[in-house]
């Protein structure tokens, strides 16, 4: 499985991946998009000529993934795990609904079982690596607190007696209070031991686990895959495949409150330029078309995060806050949608978001999307994705300026 990384007890920081793992990641995540251009091994003369003239005539391999529209969660679910891994590995589309990013729920359940049986697991998912690191850090903090208390008590006792003792170095020369660099986790098991042999008949008693996880795509990701590459087909919960026009209508209708939770495939009664799906898709498409990987930014108080190559390779460099701007302010007054950040927000809120993101070394970008005026552009243009030509996106990069510090 792609997500498996060998557990290593070396003191390398997580950012310094071993070259073997890097090569493995480069191999697995080689394709930036779900469709692949394949060159046949023995190109014909015609192909060679076209290639010489600058025309590429390679075959396009399309994985043709399936998804189901779910109106309540405003997302498209990919239930087949093979399709899910293709969409994740080629472009980092979607998120496992029970996992942090890549669908790894089944792997974690299997690992939990192995841990209970054999006492250790050889290969860990990213969630397990994080949990282990947090547990070690917690143990380190407890050890440090204990050592500090002991050192203080010893110093107090010595003071009573009139002696002076060092609280930094113990009698044998080691540091009394552990620091993060020198602390080692105390556990009995050695990683190089072979796991105890498991009896063959024990394994037969356990029932196979059913994977209840799916890959969840946002409406923007789903439309991007469907409209630009035709590599995703979406059906409604009853199983009928939806046409492009039905999907176009259904995605906009998702944001219109309705008592039933079934996809509404008829055109919306009043087409509006400020439908949240359209506004967010304009932004999503804008950054994806430049090659950025765009993911949700809810964990950092922003709308989107931009990754250069993918979450596997490096942390996100940029955090995007979407600020919709109405070309005609009258449109905003009569709008049934309350778009986030459409009205100016306070300096304190902006400072808070900027601080949160500076602490995690991300640059904050305000992306202004201009929503066309209904008075200027006819609403008929909303009957097809051609309307996106009327939306513009402008970026403003925000960085905190500290005059005292930034001169050096």
């Amino acid at each position: 499985m792609s997500l498996i990384q060998p557990s290593s007890r070396s003191k390398q920081k997580s950012s310094q991946k071993s070259s073997a793992r890097r090569t493995e990641n480069n191999r697995i995540y080689a394709h930036p998009l779900p469709i692949i251009f394949a060159e046949p091994s023995e190109p014909s003369f015609l192909r060679k000529t076209l290639h010489f003239l600058g025309v590429s005539a390679s075959d396009i391999l399309n994985p043709h993934c399936q998804g189901v529209l779910d109106v309540a969660t405003r997302s498209v679910w990919v239930l087949d795990m093979k399709d899910a891994m293709i969409l994740w590995q080629r472009g980092f589309f979607g998120k496992g609904d029970l996992s942090r990013s890549e669908p790894s729920w089944l792997a974690r359940q299997i690992n939990a079982r192995k841990l209970a049986k054999q006492g250790e697991i050889r290969v860990m998912t990213s969630e397990e690596v994080t949990a282990k690191r947090r547990a070690e850090r917690k143990q380190f903090k407890l050890d440090r607190a204990k050592a500090m208390a002991a050192a203080t008590a010893e110093a107090e006792a010595a003071f009573q007696q009139g002696r002076i003792v060092s609280t930094v170095y113990a009698a044998d020369g080691t540091r009394m209070i552990p620091s993060a660099a020198t602390w080692k986790p105390k556990d009995g098991t050695q990683p190089d031991q072979d796991p105890p042999r498991v009896e063959e008949d024990e394994e037969d008693e356990e029932e196979p686990m059913v994977n209840v996880e799916h890959l969840q795509l946002t409406l923007q990701e789903a439309f991007f895959l469907l409209w630009n590459f035709d590599c995703l087909s979406i059906s409604n919960p009853d199983g009928d495949t939806l046409t492009l026009l039905q999907i176009w209508n259904a995605f906009q209708n998702v944001h219109i409150p309705c008592p039933t939770l079934a996809p509404m495939i008829d055109p919306p009664q009043h087409r509006r330029f400020d439908n949240p799906f359209l506004v967010n898709y304009a932004i999503y498409h804008h950054y994806r078309s430049f090659g950025w990987i765009v993911k949700s930014g809810i964990k950092f108080c922003v709308d989107y995060l931009l990754y250069k190559r993918g979450p596997i390779f490096s942390h996100a460099e940029f955090a995007i806050v979407v600020c919709p701007v109405y070309e005609d302010p009258a449109d905003q007054d009569g709008s049934p949608f309350e778009l986030n950040n459409a009205s100016p927000f306070s300096w304190s809120w902006l400072s808070t978001i900027n601080r949160v993101n500076s602490q995690v070394q991300k640059t904050l970008i305000l992306s202004y999307v201009t929503i066309p005026a209904r008075s200027r552009v006819s609403q008929d243009i909303l009957s097809s994705p051609a309307c996106f030509a009327h939306y513009t996106v402008r970026e403003v990069v925000l960085r905190r300026f500290i005059p005292a510090r930034m001169r050096d």
Partner: protein, 128 residues
């Protein structure tokens, strides 16, 4: 969502409060399958117009017993206010004999990310 095995347990609340159906379903899914809570009950908070989930949350440190927690799901696009939160506490007081002093608000996003916030009644000193 309809074909998911959890759907019958939540069906009544989903049809009664369709606006918060997605958040309720996602939170229930996460809490049951990923966070591994046990003894799960679904409550109805009519004052807040949504359902809530109560269960035993396993403790992070080995050896400690699980603690009873209540989580109230909501969507990212909703706006919360302190009166909303107070209403949630009041609704829980009505329903439960031993209403907890803290509740969790689960904010659900379209891509299935959930962020949990711990809310306490009144000022509480953070744990060391």
């Amino acid at each position: 969502m309809e074909s998911h095995s959890f759907h019958p347990r939540l069906a009544e609340l989903i049809s009664k409060y369709p606006k918060s159906a997605g958040a309720l379903f996602q939170t229930f899914n996460d809490v049951t399958l990923a966070q591994k809570w046990t003894d799960i009950q679904v409550l109805e908070l009519s004052k807040c117009g949504r359902g809530a989930i109560k269960g035993l949350r396993p403790s992070l440190t080995a050896g400690e017993p699980p603690s009873t927690c209540v989580v109230v799901p909501c969507g990212l696009a909703e706006s919360l206010s302190t009166s909303w939160i107070r209403g949630a506490f009041a609704a829980l007081d009505d329903q439960l004999a031993d209403a907890p002093e803290t509740l969790f608000v689960a904010i659900c996003s379209d891509d299935s990310s959930i962020v949990y916030y711990k809310i306490t009644k009144g000022i509480m000193k953070p744990q060391v």
